[in-house]
């Protein structure tokens, strides 16, 4: 059986590709691109939420938020490791991120402006991420699928914490309720954009679905998210900022308004409210850390040499 045939068969039988298996170059590069983009998203995604750790208004919320942002660093670690099983190098991937040659989820190019944003990111952004990611737990690439299982579990936890924060705030002062509504107004449409362009315009979907690295189209996932979120919004007592949003009994789904795809394109192409800030921040941290990484490498070499000369 040729390598290619074996690969096709593994995919066809819903079995997993493992690091030592032969894969077509296009599969490898698609997977590295997907996993790296996901890893970058975890790392860049630490910034908007990290922005509120030092100002969190209760010690319990501070601990929850710090633990969450720490989890995101952990997710970044698993995912870069998964990418490394395909021959990628974490350092090189970081360089590509900083140089703007690899993307991360555009949602993180919006600013976090009040503490309610922490809750809304948990509820809507993590919620959308989970919709996107649950199917990836069955991704054909084993290390990615296994990383996603762990990540999805933790993200569900984060989402519940976010929703719980919003519930608490909605039971609080009128200013707190207003703060939640205002945050929902800002994050709702960008959350819908997280599922990517409409199926008609999506360049990667077809091949990704054939390879079973992706299992649903953007529009399918977006609809699932809207249907899931509407009752949660009602329970919370907030209004989703879309006058066209309503139940369509015939479809068995909610209809919703047109997404501002011009805004989506602008942010994806690098010119959202915070793109420059996010990448500059990541670059500064990476540059500031260069001497530390060099020191660790130099020390490891010294130890190595000492052990060899002692042997």
């Amino acid at each position: 059986m040729s390598l290619e045939l074996k690969f096709e068969e593994t995919i066809a039988h819903d079995q997993r590709i493992e690091p030592r298996d032969w894969v077509p170059d296009a599969y490898r590069s698609t997977m590295v691109r997907m996993i790296a983009q996901h890893a970058h998203s975890e790392i860049i995604g630490m910034q908007p939420e990290g922005n509120w750790i030092t100002r969190a208004p209760s010690l319990r919320r501070k601990a929850i938020l710090l633990a969450k942002v720490q989890d995101e660093a952990g997710h970044g670690l698993y995912l870069y490791s998964a990418a490394e099983t395909l021959g990628a190098d974490r350092g090189e991937l970081t360089e590509k991120l900083i140089a703007g040659k690899q993307k991360y989820s555009s949602i993180f190019n919006y600013p976090t402006l009040t503490f309610a944003d922490v809750g809304v990111i948990g509820w809507l952004v993590d919620g959308a991420a989970i919709c996107n990611q649950v199917p990836l737990c069955r991704s054909s690439y084993g290390p990615y699928a296994r990383a996603m299982i762990r990540i999805c579990k933790e993200e569900s936890f984060h989402q519940r914490q976010g929703y719980e924060l919003l519930m608490t705030m909605m039971r609080g002062t009128p200013e707190q309720r207003e703060m939640v509504q205002e945050a929902v107004n800002r994050w709702w449409w960008p959350s819908l954009m997280m599922f990517g362009p409409p199926d008609a315009d999506s360049s990667h979907t077809a091949q990704s679905m054939a390879w079973k690295v992706k299992r649903h189209t953007n529009d399918e996932l977006r609809q699932r998210f809207v249907d899931m979120t509407v009752p949660q919004a009602e329970a919370l007592g907030v209004t989703l900022p879309d006058p066209e949003l309503k139940w369509n009994a015939a479809r068995g789904h909610h209809d919703f308004g047109e997404i501002d795809w011009a805004e989506f394109k602008q942010v994806v192409s690098g010119n959202g409210p915070c793109n420059a800030q996010r990448v500059a921040h990541r670059k500064a941290a990476h540059d500031d850390g260069a001497w530390v990484r060099e020191a660790a490498a130099a020390h490891a070499r010294k130890i190595d040499e000492r052990q060899r000369s002692a042997a």
Binding site: I43, M46, Q47, G50, I53, T54, R55, A56, P57, S58, L59, R60, R61, K62, A63, L66, A67, V69, Q70, A73, G74, G76, L77, Y80, F115, L165, T168, M169, R171, G172, T173, E175, Q176, H281, R282, A284, A285, D288, G289, A290, W291, V292, R293, E294, A295, A296, A298, H299, K302
Partner: protein, 253 residues
């Protein structure tokens, strides 16, 4: 009651305020592994702070909870040592400060596990495990930086030089510590100095570094962190820490 509350605030504020400085490192670490480690240490200290502030509230007997202490006290009511509050420096400063802080605190907490106050003893027992990890992390990096490149050696040396003048304060007992120490409830920090010097000596030797020599930075008329007299950086830290809570004093979160 009052002494025990004050003592819990001292140990609690040390953890709360240094945790804040560690939180400032978030998204700024040199490597993802360190991002995770620093957040972890910050979380451990935040956890210790919460337990200690809650204990202070019980000891005080009123209705002040952890958040009241953290968000609604004035600067002069915070009793942490000044080392905890110093503005964030570079990674060399972080490692130097963490090494000093965790070595000191571990030596205190080991002794505190035998406190006659069972709550304090339990908090200390939990803290010992955490602080052992913090100290190991700092010691390993101190060795890598000291025995790494010429530049890293310079950075850790400068880091140690900048925190060293605040070391004496760690071992200077406050009257509350002495009174409660005699009662077998608290630890007189001066009893932990020998162990501290010993551990630091070992780490610095492994790191091929000299023990810094610098005079202690005095407080104001003999009053420093434990007496509520802080450095100029403290006000900015509290302004940030308390900003949201104070903007919404009636809110629940």
């Amino acid at each position: 009651g009052a002494d025990l509350a004050a003592y819990c605030l001292m140990l609690g504020d040390d953890a709360l305020i240094f945790s804040h400085r560690l939180q400032e490192w978030c998204t700024n670490a040199p490597e993802l592994e360190d991002e995770v480690a620093i957040a972890n240490i910050g979380l451990d200290l935040l956890g210790q702070a919460r337990l200690l502030l809650a204990r202070a509230g019980k000891a005080e007997g009123g209705d002040r909870g952890e958040d009241h202490y953290a968000f609604f006290r004035a600067e002069h009511e915070f009793r942490n040592v000044r080392l905890a509050e110093l503005p964030r420096g570079d990674f060399g400063e972080l490692i130097a400060r963490l090494l000093v802080f965790s070595t000191w605190r571990l030596a205190l907490f080991q002794r505190l596990t035998e406190s006659r106050d069972p709550v304090l003893a339990a908090i200390a027992a939990k803290g010992v495990k955490e602080l052992t990890y913090h100290r190991d992390y700092a010691a390993q990096w101190a060795v890598r930086l000291g025995d790494g490149t010429e530049y890293s050696r310079e950075r850790i040396t400068e880091g140690l030089a900048s925190v060293w003048p605040y070391t004496d304060e760690l071992f200077t007992p406050h009257p509350v510590e002495l009174r409660l120490g005699e009662a077998g409830v608290a630890v007189d920090p001066s009893a932990a100095r020998a162990e501290f010097d010993d551990v630091l000596g070992q780490v610095l030797r492994a790191a091929t570094l000299d023990t810094p020599e610098a005079p202690a930075i005095p407080g104001v008329a003999g009053r420093a962190g434990r007496a509520g007299v802080h450095t100029e950086g403290m006000g900015y830290l509290l302004a940030e820490l308390q900003s949201v809570a104070r903007a919404h004093p009636e809110a629940t979160w």
